[in-house]
Structures are given as C-alpha cells and as structure tokens.
C-alpha cells in the first residue's frame, strides 16, 4: 500500500503550464463573445431592414469624425498590444511595458472620446427613454437604442481590457510574464484584438450608414 510520494512532490514543485490549452481556452471565450455581439448585429440588421429610411436619417446625426478618430485610436492600440507581446518574447521587458502602457493610454483615449460623444447626445436629449427620443419615429428610437446598447457594451469591454492590462503591467514588472512564459499577455492581446474587430464592424454600421 505504499504510495510513491515523488510524483506528487514533483507536480507541486514544478509550475504546471499548458501553453496550447491556455490559448485554446481564450479562443473559446472569444467565440462566445463573437456569438454575443453577433446576436446584436442580427438585431441591428433586422431592424434596419424594417426601417431603412429612419436608420439612414438617425445615422446622419452621429459624428463621423469622432467615429473615425476612435477607429484609428483602437487600430493603433491593437498594434502597440501586439508589439508588447513581440517585445517580451525578444526579452525586451522595458519595451514591452512601454507598448502595453501605450495600449492602455489609447484605450483610455477611446473612452474619453466616447464620453464626449455620448455627452453631446445627452445634451441634445438623445438617451434611452428620453422624452425627446420617445417622440421620434420607432425606427429612430431603435437605431439609438442599438447605438447606445452596442457601443455601450463595446465600451464596457474596452474598460475591462484596460483593467486587465493594468494587471498584466504588474505581472511584467514582477517577471510573472517572461520571454518563455507570456501566455497571459498573449491572451490579453487576443481579447483586445477581438474588441478591435467588433469596433471595425460598428464603424460602418452606425457612423457610416447615412
């Protein structure tokens, strides 16, 4: 009945790592996010086909310049995110932290732009359930409902991304993320690029639909 103790000891002493498994898990999460936003895109498509003219008119009220600026901000943040992963793999820790800080800053810039955009809409009396909006035709109410819902959910994702990146920054500083163990940073990148992909679709559907 003697149980060899060595394998157990070895398992506890050695840090368990599964690079492929960790990445696969993140991809599966990405799939669930695709389906989540996919459902909202279907709702958008259906309502737009029911109210094409009202969607067209309401879209004209969005600020194209701000939408395009935020697109470039987010695309650039995706670049700095991927450069941060490349840097740590090349054992350039300081560069990796610098690129990650750039990504967080750009994420914050995106949210600040979004804040000013929404504030302008609120000032015009356009927010879910407002008297001004409820007096408008159903198609325009639906457009702004989807606009606030989808860009709001996307903005929540950006916020979560920046918070996760701040944790990764601490991991980088404490060498918990290293050139030979960078899956946490890589998975953060996967999430951030997903947020970018969703915005790539939001831009033409909301801002350029007029």
């Amino acid at each position: 009945m003697s149980v060899p103790a060595e394998p157990q000891v070895a398992e506890h002493a050695g840090e368990h790592r599964d690079y492929v498994g960790a990445k696969l898990g993140m991809w599966i999460f990405v799939f669930t996010e695709l389906i989540l936003f996919g459902g909202l895109f279907v709702a958008y498509g259906m309502y737009r086909s029911m109210h094409p003219l009202e969607f067209h008119k309401a879209s004209g009220e969005l600020n194209i310049a701000l939408g395009v600026t935020n697109t470039v901000v987010l695309l650039t943040s995706s670049l700095t995110m991927v450069l941060s992963v490349v840097a740590i793999r090349l054992q350039r820790k300081v560069q990796s932290m610098f690129f990650l800080a750039c990504t967080m800053l750009l994420g914050a810039v995106f949210l600040v732009n979004k804040f000013f955009e929404w504030r302008a809409k609120f000032h015009h009396g356009i927010f879910p359930g407002s008297d001004h909006l409820m007096a408008r035709p159903p198609g325009e109410r639906l457009f702004f409902g989807l606009y606030f819902g989808m860009t709001g959910l996307h903005g929540l994702h950006v916020t979560i991304g920046v918070v996760v990146m701040s944790v990764m920054m601490v991991f980088l500083a404490r060498d918990r993320i290293r050139h030979n163990d960078f899956i946490k940073l890589e998975n953060t990148g996967l999430y951030w690029h997903l947020v970018d992909v969703i915005w790539i679709f939001l831009l033409p559907l909301f801002y350029l639909a007029a």
């Binding site: 492929v20 696969l24 996919g38 279907v42 695309l75 995706s78 996967l190 690029h193 970018d196």
Partner: protein
C-alpha cells in the same frame, strides 16, 4: 503530443515589429478607403465597403494581430466553425424574415 506542446511553448514563431507595422498601415488605409466610399453618397459603393473592406480589415486583425496565420490547422478550423455558425445564424434569421 506532450512533446509537441513542449516545442510550441519553447520555440513559438516570432514575427518582427515591421510586419505588424505594415499590417497597421494597411488597416488605416482601408479605413480611409471605407470612409471615402461612404462619403460618395452612392449606396452601391457604401455597400461594397461594408461587405468587402470591413471583412478584409477584420481578417487582417484575425490573421496577423491575433496570430491565427501561425496557429495550428485545428485552431484554424475551430475559428472557421465559429464564424460559420455565426453566418448560419445570420443567414437563417434573414431568410426567415425575407421569405415569411
């Protein structure tokens, strides 16, 4: 299989900075093109932008920034299956709406 996992973890494919900067330039140029097409106020061109340029941009992010180009065939099939399911959802919903 475990040796395969090990080799993945220890010598993964590293792509240099330059390749990603080129992808970023392509993404910004495509965004400019998309906005340009929508400002022509011709519905056909705007639709072309939505159906061609937008998926192209998403693919660039997927294949390069999300590293899919260098992943295993199994993962590529998984991504294709997930996107396929989404397309079936969208297709079935619209066919129900359009032909009811």
């Amino acid at each position: 299989m475990s040796s395969n996992v090990q080799s993945h973890a220890e010598s993964p494919h590293i792509v240099g900075y330059a390749a990603f900067i080129k992808v970023w330039i392509a993404l910004v140029v495509l965004t400019g093109l998309l906005v340009g097409l929508s400002l022509t106020h011709r519905p056909n061109l705007a639709l072309l932008g939505l159906l061609v340029i937008t998926p192209t941009k998403a693919s660039l992010v997927l294949f390069y920034f999300m590293h899919l180009k260098y992943e295993s065939t199994a993962l590529k099939y998984m991504v294709a299956a997930a996107i396929g399911v989404l397309i079936i959802f969208i297709g079935l919903t619209f066919s129900d709406y359009l032909f009811r």
